[in-house]
């Protein structure tokens, strides 16, 4: 167990390093210097600026320096969007907002998705099952901007009769402004979770131990909750691990649609503004978060299901 943990941790750190390097090199390969958009500075100013930000050194040196700074929690400073503000402080400011919306979205996705999946599995082949399957397949076929804008049109002003929710996120308005973003952010995970739960539940209902449980004369309730559901939840957890990280860091699209001042929207804006330190900082932050979440899920896995052999790589 300890050895496995160490191995996975090493792998995760290696991945983060890889992402950091790729990010840095990609951003470095982009032609044009960050000073281009301003009034063309004189040669000497340019040289001084380059020297100040270390841009006059060879790329490997710059990379090493950047990685070193990363280790100290220094993501560099924003060049354009919020001039000279440290990227880490931007992340610290934005992340809680994204995390709150994301957590609420995932909460409803799981709380609704898992029971729906179970329901579909029990009513297999019946009308309920068919309806749920159609809804979920439609759900995973709709990009989040479709869901978000459809909700906006219907519930926030498109039709005059329904104007329940504000179109633009405003934390001071309380729960109302959370409803639409959370719903649209959680819709895809909800449908996906329901689908996964359904198929995992069917799998697990076909297992021998369920037959044994039935033969023992256990009550249906006990069979379902104690035996079937527990095992069915494992693949669901696999999916949810990375999804948690992703959703917490904000749906890029949903945050843009509802103007939520979160990390996802900020990253999209930084991409549109070509503010490279911000792009790099947010990417590395979100990527590390996702990778570490994956690690946590893998470890939890082992705790949840001792059957899974951890030493064997792959499938």
């Amino acid at each position: 167990m300890g050895k496995y943990f160490l191995k996975r941790l090493g792998m995760a750190l290696l991945t983060i390093l890889l992402v950091a390097c790729v990010t840095f090199l990609l951003m470095n390969a982009v032609p044009g210097s960050p000073w281009l958009s301003e009034k063309t500075p004189s040669e000497t100013t340019l040289a001084a600026l380059n020297a100040k930000y270390g841009l006059d050194q060879p790329v490997p040196v710059q990379l090493m320096k950047y990685l070193q700074n990363l280790l100290h929690g220094d993501f560099g400073v924003s060049l354009k969007m919020q001039k000279n503000r440290a990227v880490s402080s931007i992340i610290i400011e934005m992340f809680p907002i994204s995390a709150k919306v994301g957590a609420l979205a995932l909460l409803w996705a799981v709380l609704v998705g898992v029971p729906l999946g179970c329901l579909a599995a029990f009513k297999r082949g019946k009308l309920t099952d068919s309806i749920l399957r159609v809804v979920c397949t439609v759900g995973i076929s709709m990009p989040s901007f479709v869901v978000a804008s459809a909700l906006l049109v219907v519930f926030a002003g498109g039709m005059a009769t329904f104007k329940f929710f504000p179109t633009i996120f405003d934390a001071s308005l309380g729960w109302r402004s959370y409803v639409l973003p959370c719903f649209s952010l959680g819709f895809y995970p909800m449908c996906y979770t329901a689908r996964q739960t359904r198929s995992a539940m069917l799998d697990s209902l076909n297992q021998e131990y369920i037959k044994t449980a039935r033969a023992k004369g256990l009550k249906n309730k006990k069979i379902i909750f104690k035996h079937a559901l527990r095992n069915a939840l494992i693949p669901v957890i696999t999916y949810l691990g990375p999804q948690v990280a992703f959703t917490l860091c904000g749906g890029f699209v949903v945050e843009s649609v509802f103007s939520i001042p979160g990390l996802g929207r900020y990253m999209v804006q930084s991409i549109q503004n070509r503010d490279y330190p911000v792009i790099m900082g947010t990417t590395i932050f979100i990527a590390s978060f996702i990778i570490l979440m994956n690690l946590v899920v893998d470890i939890l896995y082992k705790v949840a299901d001792p059957r899974i052999s951890l030493t064997k790589g792959g499938e």
Binding site: L26, A29, P143, F145, A150, L202, I271, T283, I286, G313
Partner: protein
């Protein structure tokens, strides 16, 4: 008692041997004539060998949902690739005078009636200022008072206020309400006024079936081209994933040992990378790099290829080539690991076949079902990603429309021109849904073991 009769008597009662004697009495002379062609065919039909694909097709045909999805996919292909030939507008053609058309129109007579009605309503109440002043002057003179400049100015100001109020009133006349009052009905398809006039003169005018956008571009054509872009991206990305994944997976699985271990570590590494983020990153970084490359002068086939596709599409493909093949390679590796234990692989090896030949001739064809299913399910995910990137503005480059970027463009006038958002969104969702459903059906058909 003869010998024969004696034999008959001895027959065991539970014997399963057919009683030939009695059978013979039932047979006629005709029964021994050669079988007709029809009979032969019927006989063969019963035990005709069914190939893998025929069997899969038979199973797929039974799956109504998958067949409907296939129909939708074929329809969308026709829509995207044949449609633009039918519609006489270009995706970048600005139809002046036809801006902001709704996907419906009012007939010319109705429009005239409406204009007259509005004019009539706003006319009432406005009086000519000069006339008013003349009147006041005359009145003042009659009373023996002097009509000063100041009085005139006051009158003018009053008239102006009144006129403004009247025009405000005219603006307040809601055309929608007025149309309802007059009983004017909407007719499907959008026509601009000029087009309606041309049509009235007997010219054939193609309608803007889905209306037009703020520059007067026909939305139907743009949706067609957007669908074309989406589907091409989906198919090519899936093929790319297929080639890289199949190659990588089969080599890793076939070689085994240390090669496999190293290759699998790489796969694990890539697996842990958050794809969406890196795709976003690659798309962002590649755009200026490739744009500069294209603009750097000189020719060459690669350069023209890049400039035709546009930098964003290329970066999308690069992202797919770098990251998305991982799942495919894992699936194929798993299959190859199983298959390479089979006797026919040993036999081929004993005959001196090279590794490449075994992979090509024996291993890959035997996991074709898995490959086809995974490829097919890759298409919707690529379309999904493309629309996502285009929505965020780092997808398909500007002149070429994409369903995602059309949706972004529509956001500004979302409440007034809802159809501009809804139409691309619906087409996109239907497309992804159809590919998803068809892929599911294909999986059930090709891999009955997986069927749930």
């Amino acid at each position: 008692m003869t010998v024969a009769e004696e034999k008959k008597m001895k027959r065991c009662p539970v014997s399963l041997q057919p009683d030939i004697e009695s059978l013979l009495t039932d047979l006629t002379e005709d029964d021994f004539s050669p079988a007709s062609k029809q009979e032969k065919d019927d006989f063969i039909q019963d035990r005709q060998s069914v190939s893998y694909w025929k069997d899969a097709w038979r199973r797929l045909k039974k799956n109504i949902v998958a067949m409907v999805a296939l129909g939708v996919i074929i329809f969308l292909f026709l829509f995207a690739f044949v449609g633009p030939l039918v519609v006489p507008y270009g995706y970048e053609q600005f139809n002046s005078g036809a801006e902001n058309l709704f996907p419906y129109h009012y007939t010319l007579e109705d429009q005239k009636r409406l204009d007259e009605e509005i004019a009539a309503r706003s006319d009432s109440g406005t009086v000519d200022v000069a006339e008013l002043i003349e009147q006041a002057k005359a009145e003042a003179e009659a009373k023996g008072e002097k009509f000063t400049k100041k009085d005139e100015a006051v009158l003018r100001a009053q008239a102006k206020v009144a006129a403004k109020k009247a025009s405000d009133n005219a603006e307040e006349v809601d055309p929608e309400a007025l149309r309802k009052e007059l009983g004017i009905k909407k007719h499907i398809f959008g026509y601009s006024r000029a087009e309606l006039e041309r049509k009235a003169e007997g010219e054939k005018v193609f309608p803007h079936i889905f209306g037009t956008d703020m520059y007067g571009r026909d939305i139907l054509v743009r949706v067609m081209f957007g669908a074309r872009v989406s589907m091409s991206v989906g198919v090519f990305a899936a093929l790319l994933v297929l080639v890289i994944g199949a190659l990588y997976g089969s080599i890793s699985g076939y070689c085994g040992g240390r090669v496999d271990a190293v290759m699998q570590r790489i796969v694990e590494l890539i697996y842990a990378v958050p794809e969406m983020l890196v795709v976003l990153l690659i798309a962002t970084a590649m755009k200026p790099i490739l744009t500069e490359y294209v603009n750097s002068g000189g020719g060459g086939p690669i350069k023209s290829f890049v400039s035709v596709l546009g930098p964003n599409l290329i970066s999308l493909f690069i992202a797919f080539g770098m990251l998305y093949w991982v799942t495919m390679s894992r699936i194929i590796r798993g299959q190859v690991l199983q298959l390479k234990q089979q006797e026919y692989v040993t036999a081929a090896r004993a005959l001196g076949a090279s590794g490449g030949r075994i992979i090509r001739r024996h291993l890959l064809p035997n996991c074709i079902g898995q490959i086809v299913v995974t490829t097919c399910l890759q298409i919707p995910s690529a379309i999904f990603l493309e629309s996502f990137l285009s929505y965020l503005g780092v997808g398909v480059s500007a002149p070429l429309p994409s369903l995602g970027s059309m949706a972004t463009d529509a956001l500004s006038g979302m409440y007034t021109y809802t159809y501009r958002l809804i139409i691309p969104a619906i087409v996109l969702s239907i497309m992804i849904l159809a590919f998803n459903l068809f892929g599911d059906g294909l999986r059930d058909a090709l891999d009955p073991k997986l069927k749930k």
